[in-house]
């Protein structure tokens, strides 16, 4: 990445576009602080990449949800188990875990599938479980790296609608995608285009 200067305010929906290797995933990883910039600084909800130690990264991770193309769920657990796991490891009180996990799954339209093992779910359903897990810590921003890359058209539409709903509740969403049809389907979103690690287009600046 080079010369990237970007501010995503609360509640904004951002599409990060560009060809493979343009730097979309790296940008998301920088925001998630899974990677640190060799120069410059990333600031997320008051946490600076320069000052946040490896030990303190969990504080950033609870403010930034992350959804992947390949879902990254625990295959041995149920849909409920995956969401409950996220709540459990982030220190949610025991008696609150189940009701909160149920609420999150209901939000995703997955209540009937709560007890299903991951391999029993369709791709779209697995991605919904992953989104529910990402929302478990009540983050300020949701990052998504090609979240519909493995899904058919119908499932893609369903997932995108979910992201819109989440965004409508005030959460910022940054979604990396190379699917321009997807981008065009939500005209209100801010669109950023990257090319070889540089920002070449920002719809807010119109350049």
């Amino acid at each position: 990445m080079e010369g990237l200067s970007l501010h995503v305010p609360k509640g904004q929906f951002v599409f990060l576009t560009g060809h493979s290797g343009s730097g979309k995933t790296t940008t998301l990883r920088l925001i998630h602080m899974a990677e640190r910039p060799s120069a410059g600084e990333v600031r997320v909800s008051g946490f600076s990449s320069e000052k946040t130690s490896q030990r303190e990264l969990w504080k950033v991770r609870r403010r930034v949800g992350f959804v992947f193309q390949d879902f990254r769920l625990l295959p041995g657990r149920t849909a409920m188990g995956n969401v409950a796991f996220a709540l459990e490891v982030t220190g949610t009180a025991k008696h609150e875990i189940r009701p909160r996990a149920q609420r999150l799954l209901a939000q995703m339209g997955l209540s009937p599938k709560a007890g299903s093992k991951i391999h029993e779910l369709s791709g779209g359903e697995q991605q919904r479980v992953a989104i529910a897990r990402a929302l478990a810590s009540d983050p300020l921003v949701l990052l998504a790296d090609e979240p519909t890359g493995n899904l058919d058209e119908r499932a893609t539409r369903g997932i995108l609608e979910l992201f819109w709903q989440i965004n409508a509740l005030g959460m910022a969403v940054v979604m990396a995608t190379h699917d321009m049809e997807l981008v065009r389907s939500f005209p209100k979103a801010r669109v950023l285009e990257l090319d070889q690690g540089r920002l070449v287009y920002d719809s807010m600046e119109g350049s």
Binding site: Q54, W58, R62, L73
Partner: protein, 285 residues
């Protein structure tokens, strides 16, 4: 803490084969150390038994008065490191010679006088069976008017101590090497177990679990695997001991403290290996 135990137990339940294999590898690695300890301990016992035979013999003049003999006895008994001093009369010496060498019986019966001298045999306390102590007692005995000659098999004592030094160095080096190999094998076994759960670690990090929260169940699992492996090693070493004892030769069992030290080493290696493996993934992700 309850979560840590729950996570560790559920990890064992989810992958009992992997856990069993890890514990088996730990057990076999520690078995090598256990067998070495068994051999080293018995070698130590054998050397100690030989050391117990170290003694200084002060041969007495034929014409001494009982008061000189008594003085010699008292002087030798008062020397530092001396455990006991036995008086062997001329008659006892002859009897011993006849018992040990029955073929001289005929020659002895032709003799007019008993040629064997009376003597004082000096034995040493366990911590004082050293070349220095033996030489010091021997020198003191030579000064006594009742003593004609002093023998202690200097060459034999020197060789015994040289053997002991070589034994200690060999045991230390080999024991260290075996411990290192055991640590490496245990480290690998635990690393494999942690590797199998790297996705779980990555997800825990992804959703914001603290490093301590992630690490704790793995440390507990490492400790339990090490404990199971350690107990297995004790069982296998005991089995080997029993087989050798019953079918080959008498062998002493290692002291209880060594047994617990071995099990403790298993637990320690397990915890360390787990900690290092998890640390690696925590840094990578």
């Amino acid at each position: 803490m309850a979560n840590t135990v729950k996570e560790a137990v559920s990890a064992f339940r989810r992958a009992p084969l992997l856990t069993g294999l890890s514990a088996l590898m730990v057990g076999l690695a520690l078995l090598v150390l256990g067998l070495f300890s068994l051999a080293a301990f018995n070698l130590k016992l054998a050397l100690t038994a030989i050391e117990e035979r170290i003694e200084v013999v002060a041969y007495l003049r034929d014409d001494i008065r009982s008061v000189d003999m008594e003085a010699a006895l008292q002087t030798l008994r008062s020397l530092p490191g001396v455990e006991e001093v036995l008086y062997v009369s001329k008659a006892d010496a002859l009897q011993r010679a006849l018992t040990q060498l029955p073929e001289i019986a005929e020659v002895a019966s032709d003799l007019e006088a008993n040629p064997f001298p009376a003597s004082l045999e000096v034995r040493f306390q366990p911590g004082s069976r050293t070349t220095e102590a033996v030489e010091s007692v021997s020198a003191a005995a030579r000064e006594l008017p009742a003593v004609e000659d002093v023998r202690y098999g200097r060459e034999w004592v020197d060789r015994l101590f040289a053997l002991r030094r070589i034994g200690a160095i060999t045991a230390g080096t080999l024991g260290g090497a075996f411990a290192l190999v055991a640590a490496l094998i245990i480290g690998t076994a635990i690393r494999i177990a942690v590797f199998a759960r790297r996705d779980e670690i990555s997800i825990m990090q992804l959703v914001g679990a603290t490093n301590g929260y992630i690490r704790r169940p793995f440390l507990l699992e490492g400790a339990i695997t090490g404990l199971l492996g350690g107990l297995l090693a004790v069982l296998l070493t005991w089995g080997t001991h029993q087989a050798v004892y019953n079918f080959l030769f008498t062998l002493d069992w290692i002291p209880q403290t060594w047994v617990w030290a071995g099990v403790g080493a298993g637990v320690l290696f397990g915890v360390l290996a787990s900690g290092l493996a998890v640390r690696k993934y925590l840094r990578e992700i």
